[in-house]
């Protein structure tokens, strides 16, 4: 099934018949009628008509999602978000040429709930190459929910962002207090420049007497040279303030002689990391 068909089938399972009938009619109207007013109204009204409940998805649904679109991860979507994205997909099918411009226009007038939905839908729209600037605009937002709609569980950035844009996305996640582990492609797109940016950020935080996230070191360790190793040593010595648990986990995953030498500075954490008692997911929420 296509993503659009999948969304429709998930919503059919969950919505009562009257709500589903409203959605079907609104989808048809938005795709067929001249002018954008029916689309604007349907997008705006979706939560009023359908509620904002969680979209209930089982492991099979998530498999179907991945088969319909590589790395599509709809975990955490709500019913109104799914419906809004379905409306966009239906409109995009009808007017593929116009879609990037239409999406820009919708984002200029969207409320926060709409914007989160529009950006979560990014990997599903056609003409992906023409949506990069829009995606980056979303990642520039200071509204965390909106930023995370682009950054988290979304394959778009790892596929389409340039290295500079990618690096700013990851750094910004730390900056606004978002977790790194839900960012797809975090390890595959790690790079030396990002490692340097991360360490600069850690030093800046330490200078201000503030903690750094343990997740930061995941992006640093693979590129740690003699210079960066000094900062890793400091992180281990600072304990919680340094995000030491993350440094230990990343070092134990690298596992070479230099990493083992550094780990001697924090034997407790090193032991935990070796026993498998540390994980990136758990560190982000600790």
């Amino acid at each position: 099934m296509t993503p659009k068909e999948l969304l429709r089938s998930w919503l059919e399972r969950q919505l009562d018949p009257a709500a589903l009938a409203w959605l079907d009619e609104a989808t048809e109207k938005a795709a067929k009628e001249a002018g954008d007013k029916p689309l604007y109204l349907a997008l705006g009204l979706a939560p009023r008509k359908l509620g904002k409940g969680d979209l209930t998805l089982g492991p099979e649904d998530l498999n179907d999602a991945r088969s319909a679109r590589a790395d599509w991860d709809p975990r955490g979507w709500s019913v109104d978000q799914a419906a809004r994205i379905l409306l966009l997909l239906a409109t995009g099918e009808r007017q593929p040429e116009r879609f990037p411009e239409l999406l820009d226009q919708l984002c200029r007038t969207g409320d926060l709930g709409e914007l989160v939905a529009f950006y979560r839908g990014l990997p599903l729209y056609s003409a992906q190459d023409k949506l990069v600037a829009r995606a980056q605009e979303g990642a520039r937002s200071n509204m965390r929910a909106l930023f995370e709609a682009v950054a988290h569980r979304n394959p778009f950035p790892k596929e389409k962002f340039s290295e500079d844009a990618w690096n700013h996305l990851v750094l910004k996640a730390l900056f606004v207090g978002s977790a790194l582990h839900p960012i797809q492609g975090l390890d595959a797109r790690a790079n030396r420049h990002l490692a340097r940016m991360m360490v600069d950020f850690a030093q800046e935080r330490w200078a201000a007497g503030r903690d750094v996230s343990p997740e930061l070191w995941r992006c640093v360790v693979p590129f740690a040279d003699a210079e960066l190793e000094k900062d890793l040593a400091r992180a281990l010595e600072l304990g919680e303030r340094g995000g030491a648990a993350g440094a230990a986990l990343a070092l134990s995953q690298r596992g070479d002689a230099a990493a083992e030498r550094l780990l001697e500075r924090a034997p407790d954490l090193a032991g935990k990391a070796r026993r498998g008692a540390l994980s990136w997911d758990a560190l982000a929420t600790a």
């Binding site: 007013k37 904002k52 969680d54 007038t109 409320d111 914007l115 200071n142 929910a145 929420t285």
Partner: protein
């Protein structure tokens, strides 16, 4: 005590205000679309403004544990720019159905010009078409006749007075507004027009039914704590607690709650999905550690 300020322009206020408001017990605010002081000369600036009050401002408020709602409309001053007004009317329906929009407003008269009258009527029709409440701004000059005229026009267009809030009332207008079945809102201005002292006497005289207090705080000299301060004054002047609660909380909720877009649960028991996207105030976010009070970092610029 907890309070609702049903008329405040947070667009023009600082985070210090939000912090003080949250500490004073304000849990929800309604931000009417208004004139930002500098006239807008392009529909684009109007679009960006309306987008701000349905999006960014709501996010700012949520960071302080305050729920933010708004009303959407073309204000009376800018209704006098016909070219702009026509374009704004085109885009209003797009914003009127957004989440958390509780009414068409604030609309009404300023100079009571012909153009103001035309766009007031058009917007009353829009409210009817979309089955929405209306929030009325009554003029600061020639107030009494302007207020009566506004109610006449509402009735001419077949609006149900129980779905209309008439704002900026004073001793001269309140009786007729209540007699005709409308909600009567009172703006407490620190220096001019209506003060807390007079408000106490109004509640003593007219009771608390269908009366609400707001600050209308904006870019001018105004006080975002008008609602809690007036409540305190009422208390020291011997107004019954139930009446104070009605005029500073329950009536605003009852009036604007009719929109289906504002409910006590929004702040007492926010749904998880809202906590994910909007409300970061004092609640535990799913999958995240609770924030320690006073340690919220807010937005880093």
């Amino acid at each position: 005590m907890t309070y609702i300020d049903p008329h405040i322009h947070m667009f023009s206020r600082t985070t210090d205000d939000y912090q003080a408001m949250a500490e004073a017990g304000i849990v929800a605010v309604i931000e009417p679309s208004f004139w930002i002081g500098q006239p807008r000369s392009y529909v684009g600036s109007y679009i960006d403004y309306l987008s701000t009050i349905v999006g960014w401002e709501r996010f700012r408020a949520a960071q302080f544990g305050i729920r933010h709602y708004c009303t959407i409309g073309l204000n009376s001053k800018e209704a006098n720019n016909e070219a702009l007004a026509e374009e704004v009317m085109e885009i209003l329906p797009r914003f009127a159905v957004k989440e958390g929009v509780v009414a068409i407003g604030e609309i009404g008269y300023d100079e009571q010009s012909e153009l103001e009258d035309r766009y007031l009527r058009k917007q009353l029709e829009l409210a009817k078409e979309l089955d929405m409440l209306v929030q009325i701004h009554t003029p600061h000059r020639d107030k009494k006749s302007g207020t009566l005229r506004t109610m006449d026009v509402c009735e001419e267009h077949g609006l149900d007075p129980s779905k209309v809030v008439i704002d900026h009332n004073n001793e001269e207008t309140v009786q007729e507004v209540l007699d005709r079945g409308y909600w009567a809102a009172f703006t407490i201005y620190p220096k001019t027009k209506m003060g807390s002292e007079r408000m106490v006497e109004i509640v003593r005289h007219y009771g608390s039914e269908r009366i609400m207090v707001d600050s209308s705080a904006d870019w001018g000299v105004s006080d975002p704590l008008s609602v809690p301060k007036t409540a305190k004054l009422m208390e020291t002047r011997g107004i019954a607690k139930a009446d104070i609660e009605r005029v500073t909380y329950w009536n605003a909720l009852a009036a604007y709650g009719q929109s289906g877009q504002m409910s006590e649960d929004d702040w007492l028991n926010p749904p998880e999905v809202d906590q994910r996207t909007l409300y970061e105030g004092n609640s535990v976010l799913r999958g995240q550690a609770p924030k320690v009070k006073g340690e919220s970092e807010g937005v880093e610029n």
